[in-house]
Amino acid sequence: MAESIALNLAQLAFVLLLSPLFAGILARLKEIVQSKRGPSIFQPYRDLRKLFGKDERISAESSWLFRTAPYLIFIVPLIITLLIPVLTDFPLFLAFAGDMLAAGFIFAVSGLFFTLAAIDAGNPYGAMGASRTRMVGFLAEPVIIVVLFTVSFIANSTIPYIVQQHWVHPIANFFAPSHILLLIAFFMIILAETGRIPVDNPSGHFELAMIDESKALELSGRSAALVKYGGYMKFTVLAIIFLNVLTTPWGLASTGSIVAIVGAAAAVSLKIVALVVAVVVVESSYAKLRLFRISEFLGAAFVVSVTAMVTELLRL
Amino acid sequence: MIAFTPLLALVAALWCAVPRSDRAAPWVTFVASVLTFGFSLIPLTALRAGGTIVFVRNWVSLDSLAAFFLALIALVYLTASLFSWGYLKGEPGERIRLYYANFNFFAFSMLCIPLLSEIGVVWIFVELTTLLSVLLVSYALSVEALEAAWKYMVLTLLGATIAVLGVLLLFWALHVTGSTDFTWTGLREASARMPHALLGVAFALLLVGYGAKIGLVPLHTWLPDAHSQAPSPVCAMLSGIETSVVLYVLLRLRDVFAGDAALHVGSWFLVAGLLSVGTAAFLIVQTHDYKRLFAFSTIEHMGIVIAAAGIFTPAADVAVIWQLLAHAVTKSFCFYAAGAALMATETREIARVRGLLGTSRAAAAALLLGALAIGGAPPFAVFLSELAILQSGILAHLYLAIALLAVFIVLAFFGLLRHVTNMVGGEPEAGRIRLPAPCLWALALGAIPVVVLGVWMPSGLGAVLQSAARVLGT
């Protein structure tokens, strides 16, 4: 029990401490690809420190929603961290408290509050960003549902710890079309949900074109820091679900010893960096889609996920 | 020796493909077609009593049905090559040469089909007939001709692609029975042992796929366009023979599928045929273009043949063969007449042609004769064959279908005749025009079987038809 709690804490620490680093690496790599030098990979840490140290301005017209939403956005990725295999390939004590569907619902809660907070502040861009985020969310929803249903078809479970073991026992499962296609669909969903190109431009500064960022325009000081931090962690958590649960459990610790855990942390970091490289490649080779084309991008993801399901059904 | 008959057309095609052969091209083509026709008559008599000449086992063979089609193709090839000679007068030499090269390739692809007995290769050649005639359809290079060629190409190739899956499934069904003899005879023998589900799907795919090429409603939309925009001799080949050749493939397949009674092949043929006949009859009434008129009449006749093939009695099969012969000679003649009218008036609009009798007596007489003959007026061949079909249907107790068929045929007849009499009569708008001699020869040559077959059936020909129908057999 004590070991389990310690391992859970290690998982939380991993997500908390390293998430900004991955964001920094992504930003730096992207700049390098564009023939620029770019900020240090530790820049997100400095940004967060700076924001935490600043005064916070809150509109007198806003309600409690505006004040509580940032905390929720910060906490939700950490809750999900407790449900998924971050460093170990054996279940920890909260493993069966919620499945992947539950993780989706919990993310939806923070999304809902973020939306409400954005409208609450009264900034017109906030409402605009909120409605656009909802649009992306609605279109991503069917893909996520189909992906999860297909996973449950294949592995007869949606508990992350069980699902991850299925892909490599036997190894042929890894090459199953449903598996590869699920990965493609889910990767597209990560891009959409975390506001990357081609759905949204995270480094854009033009309010009219923003989707995700414009919701946070009214936030300042600690709230801004929490939302930013929450965003970094959301990316990390989704990446972990993608890499550890949906791809393979390779690199995870199979015992609770300190050496194994440290090794797993390094391996998982490497996997996330690899994913970051993939994201950079996508971001550098595509332009942001016009708003009405986003439905086509997510439609494509839907096609891929349904094909995954059909090929699974075909192997009767 | 007979197996090499199509090679004559191929040689002619290659000859015409050589640059600067444009003066010789009409000669070469004509000689090749005469020789082809001559050679194609030889097996007719030899096979009259039945049996099969095998040239290459499982690949190339000839029975009386195939020999009948070979001769039919060669006959239309002969008249069309003669008519082309006059029709292309005044075209630039280079275009004439390319036309003849393509024309001979097209004839080659059709002549091969009856000789082949391996179904996969037959499919390839059916697709080749499309590919090798597309550029003939677009020969005029007008917007309409290009559109017609494109529609023709897309829809028939679409059909071919659907059909190939049917062919593959049929092969699979054969494979399941343990046989590897993928020929007409091999399939018929094995058809009783094939899995029902596979046969059903293959039948649907093949009917739709080859049906598109025959012009069965609702996949007929390309046919009036292609068969009206192409040069008239090509129209004669397309309408008179190409559709019939594909129909020949479908007729042979019919007997493969007939082995499975649960498929109701006969009913499907009847329904498909009646649908085409009915649609075509109404289209004939409303059309404004006299070449389209004859194209719709082709859809009608293909429908009649398919419906008759659905009756499934020996008498009906004889009527089917008889109808195919009558249609091929009459329809090709109709298109020569239409081509002559086009040369005389330079328009395809029915409303703009008046007093054709004053403009060109030969064209007017041919058009009237063709319309009467193809519409089914006595005493022409089509009348007799249609009567035989109706009769055999009544004997098979298919009263409703036969009543419908008769109504549609009558409707189409009056539609045809109304349009043609409008064109022939009235005050001439232009002066008298003399048609080129080869065109007149082709019209005269084409008119002989149209007139003769209605009043006198040579006893030898009767035996050929009987034995061809026996191969279809039920």
Partner: protein, 222 residues
């Protein structure tokens, strides 16, 4: 039969249908051609995988001929014959918007699956997916032909349908006597040649290759 080969083949099938659907919705003509090449490569890959165990030289040869004919010759023929500007231009004319086209294609995929279902239990297990995905690809290709108005995408649609038919074919008829090779090696390049020639003539004569928009021959216009 080797498990990994079965899975890899199934993966190829999934990618095949996705490539076909992508051909239906992509906007650029050039991208459509590249997707066709990908689709042909996937057909060849499926032939190689099915031909590897148990070893069938017939299927291996089919794969080689497919690569040669559809990946090398046909794109070359089309590029050589059709004016270059057509390949680069964006094709704006599309009769159905992309999300609707995607959903319809998906529906057709499911129809193909349902259609092949009754046939599958008679097939060896490895090829079940080939038949279903082949039929689905045939239907999606048909749909492609219906929504495209440009000449080159229509040609590619026909070729894609042909690919789909052979994808089904290599599963149900692995030792098909020669027709598949002959057709792919000889028929299909001829098809591409003639159709591209026609498209070029149309472009020169009418200044457009939007053949789907031609309507001079409609019966009800006059």
């Amino acid at each position: 039969m080797n498990g990994i080969i079965v899975e890899l083949n199934a993966l190829v099938l999934g990618l095949f249908i996705i490539a076909t659907i992508a051909m239906t919705v992509t906007r650029q003509i050039g991208a459509c051609m590249q997707l066709f090449i990908v689709q042909s490569l996937l057909l060849a890959a499926s032939a190689f995988l099915l031909g590897a165990s148990p070893l069938s030289w017939h299927l291996v040869a089919l794969g080689c001929v497919t690569v040669l004919s559809k990946v090398v010759i046909i794109p070359w023929v089309i590029r050589a014959l059709v004016p270059g500007e057509i390949n680069q231009r964006r094709e704006l004319a599309q009769t159905i918007d992309v999300p609707a086209a995607l959903l319809i294609s998906l529906g057709l995929t499911l129809v193909g699956y349902a259609f092949a279902q009754p046939l599958i239990h008679a097939a060896p297990s490895l090829s079940a997916g080939n038949l279903a995905m082949g039929v689905a690809g045939l239907l999606v290709g048909l749909f492609l032909l219906a929504v495209r108005v440009e000449a080159v995408p229509q040609l590619l649609g026909i070729l894609a349908m042909e690919n789909a038919a052979f994808l089904a074919g290599i599963a149900v008829a692995p030792d098909f006597p020669l027709i598949a090779e002959l057709a792919i090696a000889f028929d299909v390049p001829l098809l591409a040649f003639i159709v591209a020639l026609l498209a070029r003539t149309a472009y020169r004569r009418i200044g457009t290759t939007e053949v789907g928009g031609l309507a001079a021959l409609r019966e009800w216009i006059r």
